[in-house]
Assembly symmetry: C2
């Protein structure tokens, strides 16, 4: 349980104040904070509250969304990422997860170029703040608007190209489980210190919604345990972060859901 981290979005109906009580009580050790959970709060005070509750702040989620068809919007995106770096520093989060973005109105290659430029632009600020940036490849079904980075090979290539100790990748089983090159690419980022984060959940069969129907580990068809073994065989010592978007689970009692997460984590990860 000392490697179990939960993303605030997973228990979206709970406020961060409720979470600060509920997660430690459920035996959760780490927390990844989504920016919406900080809205209207003093960020530094919230970080202290979480640490005083015994939680390790694993990362801030999320930066990114760099590609846009017009330059002004790209500039605003950079500024928003700089704010995210400030928030991470204030919160005491050592890492930001990057959901890189995509613009449906332009070629994927253009979006990919803009992502590389965007990360290069914010890297010096991340470095100065001591905040690492984790490029998260997203499932190809999100290539229209959420991310033009859709395989771990692409994320690894990008991290390699950017060549900074502050830029690495996040491996999320939901996005990557189908990829025949997954084991090989986990070895690649793991062996060169670029594997920054590991996210878990499951793929429901059948999946009823493209975004909000993620399942608990063990409920779907992803070999979570197998992928965890690949990740840890590279020497990864970080958290196992549970990130579930689910209309169904959000509709239920979140404390019961946290117990289910704990059970699923112990049984299937």
């Amino acid at each position: 349980m000392n490697r179990l981290c939960v993303h605030t979005i997973t228990t979206k109906p709970l406020s961060i104040e409720q979470i600060a009580e509920a997660y430690p009580r459920a035996g959760v050790s780490g927390i990844t904070v989504w920016r919406d959970a900080l809205e209207g709060r003093d960020v530094a005070a919230t970080g202290r509250m979480l640490r005083e509750a015994g939680l390790d702040v694993v990362s801030l989620c999320r930066g990114g969304f760099f590609p846009h068809t017009d330059a002004a919007a790209r500039k605003l995106a950079i500024e928003d990422n700089l704010r995210a770096i400030e928030e991470a520093e204030a919160l005491g989060a050592p890492m930001i997860v990057l959901v890189c973005g995509a613009a449906a109105g332009q070629p994927l290659e253009t979006s990919r170029k803009q992502i590389a430029e965007g990360i290069a632009a914010i890297e010096p600020y991340a470095k100065a703040a001591g905040v690492r940036l984790a490029i998260e490849p997203l499932h190809p079904m999100y290539a229209d608007t959420r991310s033009a980075i859709n395989t771990l090979a692409q994320a690894n290539d990008l991290a390699q190209q950017l060549n900074s100790p502050f830029v690495g990748v996040a491996v999320d089983v939901y996005h990557l489980w189908w990829d025949p090159a997954l084991h090989q690419e986990i070895n690649r980022c793991g062996s060169n210190g670029k594997l920054f984060a590991f996210h878990i959940c499951d793929w429901r069969v059948p999946t009823r919604d493209l975004l909000l129907d993620r399942a608990l580990m063990g409920e779907g068809c992803i070999p979570v345990k197998q992928i965890r073994q690949w990740v840890e065989a590279t020497g990864f010592k970080g958290y196992h972060e549970v990130e579930i978007f689910s209309t169904e689970y959000w509709a239920g009692d979140q404390l019961v859901f946290l117990d289910k997460i704990k059970r699923a984590y112990l049984d299937h990860c």
Copy 2:
């Protein structure tokens, strides 16, 4: 228009007899027949009807679905594929599209092995019947149950491994548009005579359903024209096959829809 082919599933509410009138009237030159459209018909007579209506029978859709956790089910799948080969021969279709299948209850690697074994088992019968087999890689969002072959690289590897002039690949823009290796892999199958079929439609933004929300060319974010240029630069001379599953379009007038398909084809492909 002499390279425009439509899949019967695209106008699912029409019977094959209605299709035999409607497609030529709309200027459609080729037809890919889904097996459900043949139910209760004399297959050879249906083939004659289509040809007499001026339609070129491009392929029979679909064989495949080889992986299963139990051996008896795998044997039944092979038998069903042999029936599909007989149907294709009777219909006068020179090709069968293979949607390879996947079994959520076993590792993807196992499903992939069973797919290779399945195609190897039916290849001699396809050869004897003069029917080509086109492996269609499906979008990774279908890796749970519809296909464990999810990139063109995988399909090309498999076709190469099976090493038969009767085994090649089908390129469908819907499944493959996101792949950074797409151009390279189109060149690979195109240059060695393995590019058997080219399917078109578009990716709606946002997509509201994982299966039944395909869009008309030009309505979404797929660079259909660009991909067609890549395909034809390899020397591909086959049909441009419109394959759309859409609850929305199926609910409307199918003759109006055929006119829209023609317009979209001329403007965006």
